[in-house]
Subunit: 184 residues, 4 copies
Amino acid sequence: MEPTIDLPDAVETATGWLTEQELANVRERVPMVYVDAVPVRVDHLGRVTKVGLLLRAMPDGTISRALVSGRVLWGETIREALWRHLTKDLGNDADPHLPSSPQPFTVVEYFPDPKRTGYHDPRQHKVALGFIVPIEGQPAASADSLDFGWVTPEEAVSEVVKSEMTAGHDRVVRMALGHAGVLP
Amino acid sequence: MEPTIDLPDAVETATGWLTEQELANVRERVPMVYVDAVPVRVDHLGRVTKVGLLLRAMPDGTISRALVSGRVLWGETIREALWRHLTKDLGNDADPHLPSSPQPFTVVEYFPDPKRTGYHDPRQHKVALGFIVPIEGQPAASADSLDFGWVTPEEAVSEVVKSEMTAGHDRVVRMALGHAGVLP
Amino acid sequence: MEPTIDLPDAVETATGWLTEQELANVRERVPMVYVDAVPVRVDHLGRVTKVGLLLRAMPDGTISRALVSGRVLWGETIREALWRHLTKDLGNDADPHLPSSPQPFTVVEYFPDPKRTGYHDPRQHKVALGFIVPIEGQPAASADSLDFGWVTPEEAVSEVVKSEMTAGHDRVVRMALGHAGVLP
Amino acid sequence: MEPTIDLPDAVETATGWLTEQELANVRERVPMVYVDAVPVRVDHLGRVTKVGLLLRAMPDGTISRALVSGRVLWGETIREALWRHLTKDLGNDADPHLPSSPQPFTVVEYFPDPKRTGYHDPRQHKVALGFIVPIEGQPAASADSLDFGWVTPEEAVSEVVKSEMTAGHDRVVRMALGHAGVLP
């Protein structure tokens, strides 16, 4: 079985929106809307100094670094979904500062076929809106992840960190750093 | 019955992706991914000189001006969806020049509840990626629309044209003109 | 004599970068680099709820509402210029949150000829990078301005407020609101 | 003597805007406004398939690959400057398609001190607006450059090509590819 990034959908479906079976059916029929958030630390001038990465146990036994990524539910706005996933993954004290514009820095298209775009999700076709989100509080790894840690932009694009990311998240991180003007 | 913008889904479902009943079921469960394309004429310096608007008969008998808007299908990239809808609505001689970046100028969130965001689709929750698309060929109204016409930026934001648009498309047009730097 | 927006350059030149005569000479030879900041209040989801406008006495005796706008000095980064002008105009307790990306929402080109682009500065050709800046502290009108006040997006685009702005700043405000997804 | 990217200013000054001495004086007093254009080939869906790079003899004898980059003159719009530099560097048959929006994908700040931002111009402080420009015609190296050639996105970010670029242009290319969604 292949690694997947965002198990928490299983939890979400338990809240009554969709049963797992229903979600599986829908996933075969239409693209899913996702948000991909790149948590960052910024200095008082807004410059990105650190990138935040989750560390997650994957179903296949691998442990990978990952962005904060999750599905937009029916009836939920993109801002609400960003808030919900950031709060769930980084805790209630993270104090994420959501962007004032709905314009994402990029749109990432994940497909079950890893060769389609290079962005891969074995379970579904998903369209993820990418946002850089400054975190001003104290993030903490949640129940779903083993760890959350900050790395420098240089470390974020290093071969070591790159090799620890799957699904194409390493490229999303580099695009985010490019957008922020700090791609090494 | 309320006006809807993009009947063509009925046609798409006929191609075998989803039956109408299946699509109706899915629409109640997850947000749909759409593209909202604003066709424009530009001069040799890239400045927007005209905005293209469709004229469509709506199910309730009204006739409204509208953007080129349509669903992204399972397995289809956003660029492919843009191309498919522009070609379908403006004909094979339109010669649309798709943007070199996947960054939309905005993301528009339509809900069945018209008060949620002001962007309204009675059938579904949809997340539409907005793109400005220069048209360099000869567009022609297709079978799905009564007319296609060019208006100046001034006309596009006038009360007359505004009153002929529904679903919040008038606001999408103004945001596109703002992004293009020609909002009067 | 026509109204001008940013007298404070006179102060800056006093700090030793350029004498007023030197600045006048340079202004006739090359375009000046400016930042146009639109101060906003946002809610916890990042949505713009208010727009901040300065009220300034102009050389011709008029009083106009204006953005925070100012020159980028030699050797100064854009972020440093944004910080300097926001702090000077809104005070030390304003707590501006500068954007994490250097990508402006627009670039505004002001010319001495008011018909060139519709953006007007009688003294110079200037190229202004537009940024939306959330203000999280307590802004206060500085010595250079009579007042600073918050208006809603609806008020910001109203005919009354529009008639109180010169130089094309009303259009910059509308473009900013469009970019933020809250253009009424 | 250090390498410089855009000698052509010497030519421009000959057209009567500024003498070389005047330009040198101004350069010590205010930041210069530049455009950095990344020429690209796109397919019918707008996807970037190739990046265009100039090959230029530098004053120090080195030969470097470079973007199309040049100064915005007094009284000239950004679009006019883009057109002028692209036409001058790539010839009259290049058929550049300028972007419909004035929003650059980034703003690059070059300083005489190479450590300030990593973007370096020994002669001046310049603020360059970055644009991706699809080239639909037949570009040809002009008198100012030795060669113009297309490379793939993979080649553009390779160590070989990177080592042939100076001033930080390699990072601008990577940011452009990130913005276009094709950063390898």
